[in-house]
């Protein structure tokens, strides 16, 4: 029971890994581009959770100001914002031309 009730870094890592896997499955299997983009957000969030959990672990070792993981998490969030803006911009441009949101039909470069 102690392993379950005593929440340690590993618990967060497991949650992060599960979320990462869900994101990977979503990216690999869904056809709807919007949901693929959302799955990418899931992956980024899984990474963020790991980063913050490691940051907590690192704080335990190096004192409360060792927050490098959290800083990285903030950078990842910034990145996610940029990614979402550009991704959705591409999506809109694509939708305007082909009137579909299916990844399967994004085959303009294939011949």
């Amino acid at each position: 029971m102690d392993a379950l009730t005593n929440i340690s870094t590993l618990h967060y890592l497991v949650v992060g890994a599960a979320l990462f896997l869900l994101g990977v499955i979503g990216v690999l299997t869904r056809r709807n581009v919007v949901i693929v983009l959302m799955s990418i957000e899931l992956i980024l969030n899984a990474v963020n959770l790991n980063l913050v959990a490691f940051s907590r672990y690192w704080q335990g070792l190096h004192g409360p100001t060792a927050l490098h993981g959290q800083v990285f998490a903030i950078f990842v969030i910034t990145d996610a914002a940029a990614e979402a803006a550009v991704g959705l911009g591409i999506l809109i441009a694509f939708f305007r031309n082909k009137e579909t949101v299916n990844v399967d039909e994004v085959n303009l470069l294939k011949w």
Partner: protein, 173 residues
């Protein structure tokens, strides 16, 4: 202040996250997926609070849930989802995708079971306040800030993203 009922909140929030994640990748309707993703993000903000990262939690709420997800919902409303809802939801490589994900999952499990001793319980209680200030000093302080350059690069990235999004989404420039 010591956190109250830690396992309860941890398992509750983790369950919301995982269920939300499952819903994101299984729902037909993109709006439902987005709502599930929002619940995942908010639960994750709760986990950040439990990890003594209030600033990251605040950024998560204000930027992810309040900003990025609104953008997602906005775009979902702009595009016609009725048609895509009637079509096949999963692509042709879904089996390969699942297998690949399962392999990755196996890798994770093996890593975590083997490397468990690497992560002892690192919990220490310390004053919660000062988190924001510590992050700020890491980001901006001329002496201790080692991420200032990265921060500037991030702002440049955002600028590029803004211009790129405008260029791509605008009908006529």
């Amino acid at each position: 202040m010591n956190p109250v009922a830690t396992p309860f909140f941890f398992y509750g929030l983790a369950a919301i996250m995982i269920i939300g994640g499952v819903l994101v990748i299984t729902r037909k309707n993109a709006v439902h997926s987005a709502l599930a993703l929002i619940s995942t993000l908010l639960a994750q903000a709760g986990l950040y609070l439990m990890l003594y990262a209030p600033f990251v939690a605040g950024v998560q709420i204000i930027l992810y849930a309040g900003g990025i997800m609104v953008l997602f919902l906005f775009v979902i409303m702009l595009i016609n989802i009725d048609r895509s809802m009637k079509e096949r939801q999963f692509n042709k490589q879904w089996l390969i995708g699942i297998v690949a994900a399962a392999l990755l999952g196996g890798l994770f499990i093996s890593v975590y079971t083997k490397g468990k001793s690497l992560f002892p319980d690192g919990r220490v209680t310390f004053v919660e306040s000062g988190n924001t200030q510590a992050i700020a000093s890491l980001l901006y302080d001329p002496h201790t800030g080692m991420y200032m350059f990265a921060f500037e690069i991030a702002s440049l990235l955002l600028l590029v993203a803004i211009i790129g999004a405008v260029v791509m989404a605008k009908k006529r420039i």
